[in-house]
Symmetry: C2
Subunit: 332 residues, 2 copies
């Protein structure tokens, strides 16, 4: 019997998850929810651009959709903000269904959103099901993977993770999210209003610190523009010299005034090389590099879908990638 | 309160584990056992070459040592062979103490030693404690790490892991284990009698296959000599041109006649570069490389010591690195 999955949120990531679920024999998409009036009532296969029938219509509300579809798990992809998704998680848990969400602030909420984390943990425990926040970043490349690598160390002094991405081939909303094509002034305005930023560095720093047993004084999260030194373009955008090509963002965790954990992200049009690198300073020193990098959209959907059987099998409560068995793909 | 650790087996790895435990505040070495008459009765700090007092004398027998020291966990490093360690595990479990062992064949015994695996699982379940086999390889670089990486994939078609080590700087027993300095004929004789080989490739292949959900037709484990094309030497050995500089060993898992999982090891004097590399062919393709490689002895001890709190917290039964939370170092 395949695992019955209900998808809430049909943006680019939600649709990618629907496509991945639809292509796996161990999973079956049994329902879908979105608030967008342009999607409600439509065939899910059509919305998610799948060329075979799913026999699922997009519904507008979570609880009636769960009652009708009787899923084994809900996948929630509606917002980066934990505060915004709490009512949705509450609705899902009122039906006692396990939940995996790509909400970035849920990946490790015990630092920046401790009160909400405790609340979700209580709700999940009462509902006797597990809840997980995950994705490629936060959830994998900048936290679970460096934590895993530290397992081979006798001593860890510092952790540095670098994620550099050439954004030229990414979708337009991603290029806009990193501020490509803006002036430096426009970029700063968008940073100030929160529309240009990657969400999750604080969560990843906090997850690593918890694994290492380091009590941090503070976590900083600083955004700077990557200014184009020469004209660059993507299929969607042309960036002139002096305009912003993308974002440089650093999350740093300090202990006793010392930077112990540094997460360095660069995502801009024309980056000469995409890669994910982990440097552990300690005994031994370890340097691991994924040439080409882990591609964002595919991998966020994959990490989420791959976690489905683990979340169903997990003890009740709020989990993170730290408390579940090691990540793994699964076939038929 | 620190975790109380009793070490069984004081060879190079056992002693490295004692040193790592002695250097961590969250752990306390409370007992040690070895059958070697030259070690029994001696001060453990002396045997393990630690320059501060441990107040532990090496004992000759497991059960009396456990009764005296009352450890929270036993670390077992006596043999690569599961059959040989079963009576020792039985003795430890008769005292209801969780166990982590560097026995290579215990890292994933459900394929090559299924009957013994089931027996240990039953014993551990009855004793209400967890048992784990781990180390750097098997246990980490060629199984847990590639499995973890697959978690970012939408589809996995093949897995290739390469572990290449320049053995020049390793200890003499390791250089002898890989056949350095032998003629090709002598090498083949030692391969035939089982004294030249790495134990664990079959276990790692089987662990990866189980994670992927692949039912394998067969697993092969083939050993070849690396013949020196020019003279090479280490602090211990000189290898002439035409003599054996080390070992090349391949573990391959086949499904429907196709090689799905290939674990390729090279360990020889004069290897130009040490590294650990993982290639996942699928969607996306992923290539991860640890330049310099994960050093064998330090990391085997580290992976084992780092797993101690996880084994104590795990549900009763026989575990593998697949069933525990992600590996991680821990500090004070």
């Amino acid at each position: 019997m395949p695992i019955r999955v209900l998808q809430v949120g049909l943006g680019p990531i939600g649709n990618a998850i629907v496509r991945q679920c639809a292509s796996r024999r161990r999973l079956k998409i049994v329902g879908a929810v979105d608030i967008d009036a342009a999607k409600v009532g439509r065939d899910l296969a059509d919305v998610a651009e799948i060329d075979h029938k799913l026999n699922v219509k997009v519904a507008p509300e979570i609880v009636p959709a769960i009652r009708k579809a009787r899923p084994d798990i809900v996948v929630l992809c509606t917002s980066s903000s934990l505060e915004k998704v709490v009512p949705q998680i509450q609705a899902i848990l009122s039906c006692r269904v396990p939940t995996v969400s790509t909400t970035e602030e849920l990946a490790y909420p015990f630092y920046a959103n401790r009160r909400l984390a405790n609340r979700i943990n209580r709700m999940a425990t009462r509902a006797k099901v597990a809840v997980l926040g995950t994705g490629v970043n936060p959830g994998f490349t900048m936290d679970a993977l460096p934590i895993t690598l530290s397992g081979a160390c006798e001593r860890v002094d510092k952790v540095l993770v670098e994620r550099v991405q050439d954004a030229s081939a990414r979708r337009l909303p991603f290029q806009q999210k990193i501020g490509a094509g803006l002036t430096e002034e426009q970029f700063q305005t968008r940073v100030d209003t929160g529309s240009v930023r990657h969400v999750g560095l604080t969560e990843s720093v906090a997850m690593i610190a918890a694994a290492m047993g380091w009590k941090l004084d503070k976590i900083t999260d600083v955004i700077k523009p990557k200014v184009a030194a020469r004209p660059v373009k993507s299929p969607f955008l042309a960036v002139k010299k002096g305009q912003v090509a993308g974002i440089i963002q650093d999350g740093v965790g300090y202990r006793r005034g010392e930077p112990m954990i540094t997460l360095h992200m660069e995502a801009y049009l024309g980056a000469p090389e995409s890669y994910d690198a982990i440097t552990i300073t300690g005994v031994p020193n370890l340097y691991s590099k994924i040439a080409g990098g882990v591609p964002g959209d595919i991998a966020t959907a994959a990490v989420t879908v791959n976690s489905i059987p683990k979340v169903i099998a997990a003890p009740p409560g709020l989990h993170t990638m730290r408390s579940l068995p090691i990540p793994s793909w699964f076939g038929d």
